[in-house]
Amino acid sequence: MTFRSARDLEEADRRDPGLRQLRSTWAPPKGFARLKEINNTFIGMLYVLTGIFFFVVAGILAALIRAQLAVPENDLISADWYNQIFTMHGTTMMFLFAVPMMEAIAIFVIPQLLGARDLPFPRVSAYGYWAYLLGGLMVLTSLLFKVAPDGGWFMYVPLTGPEYSPGYGPDFWLLGIGFIEVAAIAASIELIIGILKFRPPGMSMDRMPIFAWYMLVFGFMILLGFPPLVLGDILLEVERAFDWPFYDADRGGDPLLWQHLFWLFGHPEVYIIFLPGAGVLSTVIPVFARAPLAGYVWVVLAAVGTGFLSFGLWVHHMYTTGIPVMSLSFFSAASLAVAIPSGIQVFAWIATIWSGPGVLFRAPMLYALGAIFIFVAGGLTGVMVALVPVDFQVHDTYFVVAHFHYVLFGGAVMPVFAALHYWTPLVTGRLMSETLGRWSFGLIFLGFNVAFFPMHLTGLRGMPRRVYTYPADLGWDWLNMISSIGAYMVAAGVAVFLWDWLYWHRKHGQVAGYNPWNAGTLEWHSVTPSTNFSMRSVPIVSSTYPLWDEPELGDRVDRGEFYLPDSPDERRKTLRTGSVMGEPRQVIFLPHPAWSPIIAAIGTATFFGLAIFKLWWLCAAAALVIIIAGIIWMWDAEPLPAPNRYDVGRGETLPVHINGADTHGFWAMALLLIFDAAAFVSLIFSALFLWTVNRDLSPPVPEAEPGWALAAAGLAVLASVFFRLGAFANRRGSMIGLVLGPLAGLPAMFASGGALMGSLFDAGISPTENAFSAVYWTFAGWTGFHIGVGTIFIFYTLARALAGKVTPERRQSVMNVELFWHFTTGLALVSLIMIHLWPRVI
């Protein structure tokens, strides 16, 4: 029995009860309830569609920009509109297209690539998607009312501060984008755990599909790269709403603090976008070169190395801000070093092409080759802008516009088009048109170079960025006209693509059937379109390209010869394996479709939307909705069947429920706390930074009774001890201890937080006084926020305990909550050090 067409599948369905069970278990709800669906194929598809929608919107904005700049002194678009348009173009492309699009592709394809049935936390993906959609629409809406942010996608203060932008524009940006970051974090945790723990048996780290390696690095980069921006966002919004002067130079703040926080995020961001693109190229090129990726370990090294080095580049966006040239040169050094991993990848791709029997010039490969061309050019101008002297001249000119469009188009946009051409058959079961693909590629590739190559010259001839018009005769006129013509060629190419993608190929495209590209990775193991559960049975893998090395593997999967080939209990489930070696360890019972993620997302959207207009009481109501949805969501966590073994097929059984640090739930909490800690470290960085820039103002020593601070520290530690005891008691089976520990710890923690704030009150420190006092209060507020969230966790755990859902065998939620509380204690102690000890020491 082999599946070569959709009909084979239907026939097998009639004869094969296991397959029938899987299909009914994973069938999406019908009708309106379909929105409840949380499966990664459904959510991934919506994600991709939404990403392309935002790409088109941002592209239309780009077309408007090019229309305005086509001729000098044009009055087609007013200055006011133009500034909103270019701000929204950048913002939409970066935050609503580039990063989410990569997440989208990964959410759709990673489980299929890894032989998993779904991602570890399907509801989190669903929540992330709806948050992204609603947040994105919220940000775009501002454009309809002409109140869109107009401070640039980089939002430099003080232009975006309360004094120079009193309107709602920056709030739409800060809260809307802040909201979308929630989706990014959700996706990153999802992908890291999915890649490390949800691989098929036998797929050790050295056999992972290369795309998974890239997405693993991508996940960690989001986890560590986004926190500085989240913190910067919070500080700016607090400055705008409550006048805490973090960035106000008159009160000891510094506009450069924003730039540091923004680019601490912003440069890793560029590689966050590029790495998945490079991952697509490293996936697509071997398929059409018909040879395994050359130098697999080199490419892995390049991805990991890029991930690290990209955190040492942020100041190269700030060469002209007056930082000593020595410091600038450190960043120049890292910016040059990061070119090496890029070089490695390019040579690996060339070597791959060389080792094959000849290239198949199908549409995905055309896009991939175009991507190499454009990316290499952008990389070389990247070396130029990395040089301090050259950047002094070209910074903030059209040269830089040309450079980063080359990098991002080559490193992300072209790979996305390659990926869509390549993987769309998994959704529609049909191939996209080769003819239309050639047209769209030709128009986009040519148009892109026509549009952006001249910009190098425009910039060197002195044209700054972000100008809504320019005088005639400075030597920029015809260059701009050419760029505009090129831009419209790109637009035409995108239109051809959309026509094919959304309509033509679904009606007239060639039926894709089984493995249309003759690829080697698992997502092509069976007939297209792929199923919701992605694998009839979870295979044992013994190479990087299983379909190439074991041609019969797909059939064996389809016959159900491997793990989890049926679903008699109608529960969605998948296999969890060891992170490094990929040996089976656990059966995960996955959640079924539910309304809670979408309701939580709507609640979150409402919260952020109302916060824009400072309607705090309504915000509180929205927060309540989120909390309730969250509790309903988590209520059925930790399924523990009796007995706690599940027959996974092949005569093996695996546990369903386990406790400890190896569980995906614990990892999720730990990764979330890493994110949290990175944001907190950014806050410490902010305090130290403000200290180094202020000549006249040193961090004020809070003259409070020492008792306050000591009490706060002691109580925090005491609380941690109580939580530990409670968890310990639970392990010993003592229900009373489990209840008493947290109930004693909670008041201690509240008292600790109260004493922390009390010490600030007692010292008469007001957050609006100067930047340092604002930072002190932020430390206190950060701790306070965690105490609040932890309180909800405590009552949630106690409620579960009373419902009999917490037992010595079922203690994972207690472990997770305990981890959170120890973290909070840590925050309280570090905050105390930063408020009371640090100003005294320096």
Binding site: E73, S78, A79, D80, G152, Y156, P158, L159, Y164, A249, D254, P255, L256, A294, G295, W298, A302, T320, T321, G322, V325, S329, S332, A339, I340, G343, I344, F347, I350, A351, W354, G358, F373, V376, A377, V383, M384, L387, V388, P389, V390, D391, F392, Q393, V394, H395, D396, T397, L460, R461, P464, R465, R466, Y468, P471, A472, D473, L474, G475, V693
Partner: protein, 325 residues
């Protein structure tokens, strides 16, 4: 509206081409940067062509492996070659950085420029350390180091004269310095390079590099108060300036009551090449046009359009301003 300006005409300069271009360096520093850029661009182009040639060769070739073993090919092309090339470049660029950022020395011309939304306040340090105030235009002597310290009154701007030096940001609360030595006479244009809000596009200025004697003379003239008007037309213009309250925003040294700090100092506005911060040629007609419809020419700037003035008053006012050489 007879004064409406629809297009910009050239300032008193032969051609606009190249006056704001990195390709027309007129200082030691701009020269050094251009030389570095050219070298790197040439080397980069060569590398680009080589890599693309390798790619093409790989596509055409039927050998089924690169000229070397895969890993050796990647190690040399992707690792060793860039590592060596870039280390040479690293040393080279650090040396150029050192060269272009060295201090200006004792005899430097010292200038303080403050960014405003959307114009430039300029203060020269006179021979005795006194501040000589002007706006939206720099004059510099040839072959003498120049030190310009910059800051901002409101949002972040960036000070940039492509022919003379790289950029330096003007940041509230910070004072940054840029130094360079002009080597050739001529008129150049500079422009704000950091997005600074609504009229970022129309925040430019002209720079005149001239022989030392001319510069000294210019600076001496700038230090003088405004000349007293003689003909009736100019007297009427000065009166209009007083009547309209222009002095509450603009300073005209020597004219009682004209001490405003909100807009540019106009003591010698008639000597400047441009008005509206490098946007319009500084002719009498453009002056009148600017006064009558500044909100049309540069929407959102802080000067209201004085479109209520009758033609006669407007002409007199413009004529008087033009006479302030």
């Amino acid at each position: 509206m007879g004064w409406q300006i629809t297009s910009q005409s050239n300032p008193r300069y032969d051609s606009m081409q190249g006056i704001q271009s990195v390709f027309e360096p007129r200082s030691i520093q701009a020269d050094a940067i251009l030389a570095l850029s050219n070298w790197v661009f040439a080397a980069g182009s060569l590398i680009f062509v080589l890599v693309m040639a390798l790619l093409a060769w790989a596509i055409i070739s039927r050998r089924r492996h690169p000229p070397l073993r895969n890993t050796v090919f990647i190690a040399i092309g992707g690792f060793a070659f860039p590592a060596v090339t870039l280390s040479i470049l690293m040393v080279f660029t650090v040396l150029v950085s050192l060269h272009i950022t060295s201090p200006a020395g004792e005899n430097a011309v010292r200038i303080h420029v403050t960014g405003h939304m959307w114009w430039w306040e300029v203060q020269y340090e006179g021979p005795d350390g006194e501040r000589i105030e002007t706006a939206n235009e720099l004059h510099l002597p040839i072959d003498r180091p120049v030190s310009i310290t910059v800051t901002s009154e409101d949002v972040i701007h960036s000070f940039w004269i492509p022919s003379l030096a790289g950029k330096v940001d003007m940041i509230p609360g910070h004072v940054n310095e840029i130094t360079f030595t002009p080597t050739e006479a001529g008129v150049m244009r500079g422009q704000c390079a950091e997005y600074c809000g609504l009229q970022h596009a129309k925040m430019a200025f002209y720079v005149v590099v001239e022989p030392a004697e001319q510069f000294d003379q210019w600076l001496e003239e700038q230090a003088q108060p405004a000349v007293e008007p003689v003909p009736d037309l100019l007297k009427a213009g000065q009166q209009a300036f007083v009547d309209q309250g222009c002095g509450s925003c603009h300073a005209v040294r020597g004219l009682p009551g004209a001490v405003g700090q909100i807009g540019p100092d106009l003591t010698h506005v008639g000597s400047r090449l441009s008005i509206g911060a490098g946007w319009l040629d500084g002719s009498v007609g453009n002056l009148a046009g600017w006064i009558a419809s500044s909100q049309h020419i540069k929407p959102g700037n802080r000067m209201p359009s004085f479109d209520r003035l009758d033609g006669k008053t407007l002409r007199a006012l413009a004529a008087w301003l033009e006479s302030l050489e």
